[in-house]
Amino acid sequence: MAIVEIKNLVKRFDKFVAVNDVSFEIQEGETLGLLGPNGAGKTTTIQALLDLVTPTSGSIKIFGKEISENRSEILGQINFSSPYVALPGNLKVWENLSIFAGLYGIKNPKQKIEELAEIFKIKDLLPKMTSNLSTGQMTRLNLTKAMLNDPKLLLLDEPTSSLDPDIADKYRKLLKKIQKERNLTILYTSHNMLEIEEICDRVIFLNKGKITDNGTPQQLIKKYGRKDLNDVFLAIARET
């Protein structure tokens, strides 16, 4: 079953076209990488999926329903995380989590928070002020927040962009693990080819708002006759 169906999505800011006739689907349990250089339209696409940005035209269906018409219902079953969006630093970690548990209407918030804190190794951080967390700890907290409502679909916008290689690697391993355990559907943006190669089942190349190619990492590497996805990226980005 397709969890996400985007058809002919166009987003114009005045005359500038940020997303240009993009169509794709994400199947249940699939991890799809949205890959492209800065300004390709990755974030805009994710924001349109979250109804934070109104598309100029096109249709976005999540769980078979149009997001603009079923906003509240759909948002209850998906979640989002990005290092560019923060949780209030002037609240304690557990306070932040319990507020979001409330916003998502979680049944046993305390139990849920403890359970997730265990998984994401933030148990000892719960009583701390959020502003005192390191970048790595913050990323784990963001992911904990993003799992509070047991989402079926997770939208991750450059989640590892502010992490050092070691922590980024741990993050991907953890993400992969919970993805498998819960059969999560994930949309993952990045401009780091190696990590996309590592965790994505399928990749869409976006450049200047247009899809320029898509396929599994192996298919693309083969198609372009390159040694890895990084070279494929350079080949695609420079030929258009």
């Binding site: 987003k11 800011f13 940020a18 974030t43 805009t44 924001q47 979250l50 109804d51 934070l52 940005v53 109104t54 906003r71 509240s72 219902e73 948002l75 209850g76 979640n79 989002f80 990005s82 560019y84 969006v85 923060a86 949780l87 209030p88 630093g89 002037n90 609240l91 304690k92 306070e95 319990s98 507020i99 979001f100 548990a101 409330g102 916003l103 998502y104 209407g105 927040k145």
Partner: protein, 264 residues
């Protein structure tokens, strides 16, 4: 609307207040200072017999307490929204199932709580420092306060919509708007003192009828039902316009992509 979401947003602010001295000062300290200032002014005027037969303490202290209720209503809505911009938390909030109506309801309730606390603080200080009993105005204080919170919240809503539209550069309005309203709404003096053309503005403000009504109660002992009804009527009209404006601005920033850039 879902209560658990309204409650969650309110809890956010209650957590914050517990340990934020500036926020607690907003409720407990600054209103006290304001009250003391106006208390001394009215005592001085009373003693120097400037006031003739008017009960100056009641007029000024009653007015300043009601004024704080109005500005607190505006302030708490605008600041509640700004907190999330300052903390870059806006997107996290708006990717939850939260509805705009729930967001607004939570700020309204938070405003009522804050106003209630400020009212108690000022009422108690006035009682002990100046033997002024707020309830000497009778239980009219309740419909008065209701209209002021109502109008304050409407002003807060308009400011918030303007901040949405123009970004954080407009946030000074959240702190400055009340100084713009104050001279027109005849807090400390009757509308009749104002030049004729300014009186039109005054009578367009729901709060003016409360302050005029307050003076009527003090001077004549009568509560002006007509003033109360006009005030409610104006509030309802402005509420409808302000909500329309807010929803329009919200749709606009979702279109031009500024909702996601407000805090950057």
């Amino acid at each position: 609307m879902k209560w658990h979401r309204i409650k969650a947003l309110m809890t956010r602010h209650l957590y914050l207040y517990q340990r934020s001295i500036p926020r607690l000062m907003d409720i407990f300290f600054w209103p006290t200072m304001t009250l003391l200032l106006w208390g001394f002014v009215s005592e001085y005027l009373q003693q120097s017999n400037f006031s003739g037969s008017v009960n100056i303490v009641t007029v000024l202290l009653g007015a300043i307490i009601l004024w704080e209720i109005l500005s607190e209503g505006q302030h708490s809505l605008s600041v509640a929204f700004l907190e999330d911009i300052w903390e870059r938390n806006l997107l996290n909030i708006f990717v939850t199932p939260l509805k705009i109506s729930e967001f607004l309801a939570s700020t309204a309730l938070l405003g009522v709580i804050r106003v209630f606390l400020v009212g108690i603080v000022m009422g108690v200080v006035a009682l002990f420092a100046y033997s002024f009993n707020l309830f000497s105005l009778g239980f009219y204080i309740i419909p008065f306060a209701f209209n002021l919170i109502f109008f304050g919240w409407i002003l807060g809503l308009i400011i918030t919509a303007v901040i949405l539209r123009f970004g954080t550069s407009a946030q000074v309005l959240a702190f400055g708007i009340m100084f713009l309203v104050q001279p027109f709404t005849a807090v400390f003096y009757p509308v009749s003192i104002l030049p004729k053309y300014i009186q039109y503005i005054s009578y367009a403000l729901p709060s003016t009828y409360v302050f005029e009504g307050l003076r009527a109660v003090v001077n004549t002992g009568h509560f002006l039902n007509s003033y109360f009804l006009i005030s409610v009527g104006l509030n309802i009209i402005y509420l409808a316009l302000a909500l329309w404006f807010f929803y329009r601005m919200f749709a606009r920033v979702k279109k031009n992509g500024m909702l996601t850039k407000l805090d950057s």
